[in-house]
Every structure is written in C-alpha cells, then in structure tokens.
C-alpha cells in the first residue's frame, strides 16, 4: 500500500510536468472581450424583453379589468342631505306662498 502511495505521489508530479502552463494565443484577449460584450448584450436584451413582457401584461390586465369587472360594479346609493329631504317634502311650499294659499 505504501509503495502504491509513493507511486501515486510520483504520478501526480509527472502529471504536473505533463501539463505545463500554456502560453495564451494572440487571440485570447480579443476573444475574451468579445465574450464580455456578448454577455452584456445578452443581459440588456433579456432586460428589454422582460420590460416588454411587463408592459404587455399590464395592458392585458387593464383590458381584462375593464371588460369583466367594471360592468359588475354597483352604482353607489345617492347620498341625500337634510336640505334635499326637506325640499322633497315641501315641493309646493314656495308655489303655495306665491299663489296665496299659505299666508
């Protein structure tokens, strides 16, 4: 087992030597910046698409609300004031005074 342990350690060392640090090609930096730009463009287009979806969803929701909810809304009961009620009960009082029925 110890012998195999040693052999494995030697193999790691050989592997390290067999995989030297490579020199980057001349295209490395331009390609990297191209990828950075591509990612930036992709992010912007995703955000733009998300915004479009949000706007469309808002419009659709507004249409649905207008078509479905609004026809079912009950009109509010008319709030009458004391003066209105009094006037309703004495509709002809002013006419009566003018015609001389009330003195």
């Amino acid at each position: 087992m110890d012998r195999m342990d040693d052999k494995l350690d030697a193999l790691w060392a050989e592997y390290r030597e067999a995989c030297p640090s490579p020199e980057a090609s001349a295209d490395f930096m331009p390609q990297m910046w191209r990828r950075i730009e591509e990612k930036r463009t992709a992010t912007v287009s995703v955000l733009r698409r998300l915004a479009q979806v949000c706007v469309m969803a808002s419009v659709a929701l507004a249409v649905v609300l207008g078509a479905v909810v609004i026809p079912h809304v009950q009109p509010l009961p008319v709030q009458t004031t004391y003066a209105d009620v009094l006037a309703d009960n004495h509709v002809n009082t002013y006419v009566d005074v003018l015609t001389g029925d009330i003195k």
Partner: protein, 201 residues
Amino acid sequence: MLVEFELIERARRGDDAAFNQVVQAYRKRILGNIARLIGRPEDVEDVGQEVFVRLYYSLDQLRTAEVFEPWLYRLTVNAAFDYLRRQRRRQESRMSDLSEQQVMLADAAAGGKRNEEEQRRTRIRELVQSLLEKVSEEDRILLVLKEVEGLSLKELEKIYRVNENALKVRLFRARQRVLKAYEAQEAQKSDAPKSDAPRGA
C-alpha cells in the same frame, strides 16, 4: 499577489484598461491551473476566457482587494467544474463514439507527428484523467488542487470556505478511491502479458 491592490480597485470600479492588466498578469497562472484541472490542452483557453468573463461581471461583489486571489481561484474551480460536468454529460450521450484513447491511438498510428516526449505526456495525462474519473468532479478538483497544484489546507479553506477537518476527510476519501483505481489498473497491466502469452508455451 501578482498585481497592486490599487490596480484591482481600479478594475473593480470599471476601468477596462486596469482589468486588461489584471488579466495579463494572472493569465498564465490561471491557464496552467485549468490545464491541470481539466487535462485537455485544446479546451484550456476556452475555460480560461470563461474565468475572466466571470471575473469581469463579479468584480463588483469583491469586498476587498486582499481576497482577490482566493476569489479568482474560486472562479477557476467553478469554471473547471462546469466544464468537467459538461464533458461527462457529453461523453454519456456519445457512448457509440470512439473513446478518447482510441482516437489518440488512431491519431498516433496515422500521423506519427507527435514526438515521443509528447506521447509520454499524453499517456500520463490520459492515465491521470482515467483515475480521476473514478471520483466526483468536486473531489477531482480538490485532489488536483492539493496534490498537483500543491495548495495548502489553509489555502483550500479560503477557496472552499469549509473547515480544515472536512477538507481532510474529503481529500482522504478521494485519494483512497483514486489509489484503489490505480492499483486495479496496475494489476490489470501486470496480468495482461500473461493472458496474451501463447498457451502451452
């Protein structure tokens, strides 16, 4: 540190020229790490570029320039891990294709272009890769960082943000598995000539 903190700070604030300088300073080291982590020279640049693209977009999350190197190592480990996972999936979906070893043998036989030294290196890479396939991608990366890159447990602790004991246990288990696979391969190799020998000779 291969660069001044000031340069990293400038890159963090969005200075592309400073970022370029940081990449140029760390490029060789990172490509070397990737070469040993993935064991495929033809894909090293691609994974290396991925590391620096990720660095570009995550640099604003870096709290201080002091933790830059473990941060960069972490990005390298993650990119290598993603690559290895993709490779494993690809290999599983192309079971009918020739194995890499077969392709290599065919290449060597047909062209004969590679010199002996390069062939020896390729053999070692293939052997180590076949042994590392016996453990998960996570353990494989951990083993390479420890055994091949020579990182200390303290350095690994910073990269993985896991305590030393947990790392030791994982390393021990992974090494045992690789050792077992190595023993099996060696045993197979020593058995091979006997079975190939003509009967009754």
